[in-house]
Amino acid sequence: MMKVNVTISGNTAIIGVQGRIDTITAGEFEASLLPLTEKHAHLVVDCSQLDYISSSGLRVFLMAQKKLTATAGKLRLCNLQPTIREIFDISGFSSIFAIYPDLQSASQ
């Protein structure tokens, strides 16, 4: 189960993601996230309600990052729960993505 909530603020899209991004929901997440990379220069993904992320979810983040980098945009992740943060740290993805402690610092 996964829910995505999008709020637009100027040229930044704030995406609140809730639940799990796994092999079943990754396609849906990709369909929600990637079109936003074409319309907005910056994306902030609020992960405060993200309970689980698998490799499929990480690949969607990579795809979004790649698209935004090509247009000099930025993908920022914020409010990662400790277990999700650990997944990023253990896999080494923390150095790939811009991770912020809260929505306010990520939106600046």
Partner: protein, 331 residues
């Protein structure tokens, strides 16, 4: 113009296959090596076929139908066999590309040789048939051998036993082509239509299998390593299993087994992360300690021995794909 039609199709096809490799499993240097080997294998086959033909009195037609496919396929597949035995090929995608490259190198050398030997004697149609038919057949047969071989290896067949079905397939297809059961135009058209479809299906299946493999293993491995780093490994099923081994192993051996799991997980996660980064065109993260970690794993593997490895199989498999995955970190 003749050379363009006889050489270009197979090179374009190879380029297409290389570009379809979305996870960038194929290394350019190994691809070059396979093409080079293809050229060498054409030379070996030429001299071997010439010698065999002079020793036997079976006539050129019979020789080209029954013996040439064996010698030519045998010489082409050696490079694929070498790469697979060295755990440099992990999935059907890279197997197909390397195999096709060896066949392409063979066809290039063969067509260039014929061009020098025959000059412009045969018409353009012959070179088109050679370029679109014979050359793609050579690439296709070796690629099919490689696909079938890696599939056999993944099914835990012994390397030698896994070779036989692929080798027979390559020989039968090659021999069938040389029989000209069909009109050469129809035969060439069939190859030109069927081969891309076969590759598309194989690539799709291989990519799905790669994604499933990443999905299932990655999350499980990250979770297990997370528990280990938090000192909660004993509370997991894997921890329970390791504890159960205390009846059979000394305390020192259990520590080695624990460290082996930990180092393996760390390296495996990094290898998979790199694959995801390559898929999306990101530069790989440079980690200076990777070499030391790989060496540590090698030492630990030696220390736990075959029995330790077998005991750990429910937690850590060290089969072809696992070794291939770790080899990716050396690049």
């Amino acid at each position: 113009m003749h050379i363009v039609f006889s050489i270009l199709p197979v090179l374009l096809f190879l380029t297409g296959l290389f570009l379809l490799d979305s996870f960038k499993l194929v290394s350019k240097s190994r691809l070059g090596l396979c093409i080079f080997w293809g050229v060498i294998s054409a030379l070996i086959s030429y001299y071997l076929n010439t010698w065999l033909n002079s020793q036997l009195t079976i006539g050129f037609a019979t020789f080209s139908r029954y013996l040439a496919p064996i010698t030519e396929e045998l010489s082409k597949i050696l490079i694929v066999f070498f790469l697979i035995s060295r755990k440099k090929i992990g999935f059907a995608v890279d197997a197909a590309v390397y195999g096709f490259a060896a066949g392409a190198g063979f066809a290039l050398a063969e067509n260039v040789f014929y061009m020098f030997a025959l000059g412009h004697q045969p018409g353009l149609v012959v070179w088109i048939l050679r370029g679109f038919g014979t050359a793609l057949m050579h690439g296709g047969c070796t690629a099919l051998f490689a696909i079938i071989l890696i599939d056999g290896i993944q099914r835990d067949k012994h390397l030698i036993l896994a070779v036989i079905p692929g080798f027979l397939t390559a020989i039968i297809l090659h021999s069938g082509f040389n029989h000209f059961f069909l009109n050469p135009y129809i035969q060439t058209a069939l190859i030109f239509i069927v081969l891309p479809l076969v590759f598309m299906l194989v690539f799709q299946k291989s990519n799905n299998s790669l994604q499933d493999w990443l999905e299932i293993e990655f999350s499980h491995e990250v979770e297990l390593l997370r528990m280990m780093q938090q000192g909660k490994f004993a509370h997991t099923k894997a921890g329970d299993y390791l504890m159960s081994l205390r009846k059979h192993f000394s305390s020192e051996a259990i520590v080695d087994l624990y460290n082996y799991i930990s180092v393996y997980l760390e390296l495996s996660i990094k290898a998979k992360r790199n694959m995801m980064l390559k898929e999306n065109g990101f530069p790989l993260i440079v980690e200076p300690d990777i070499g030391a970690k790989l060496e540590e794993l090698k030492q630990l593997r030696r220390q736990i021995g075959k029995i330790g490895e077998l005991a750990l199989q429910p937690l850590v498999r060290m089969k072809h794909r696992e070794i291939w995955k770790l080899n990716q970190l050396k690049n």
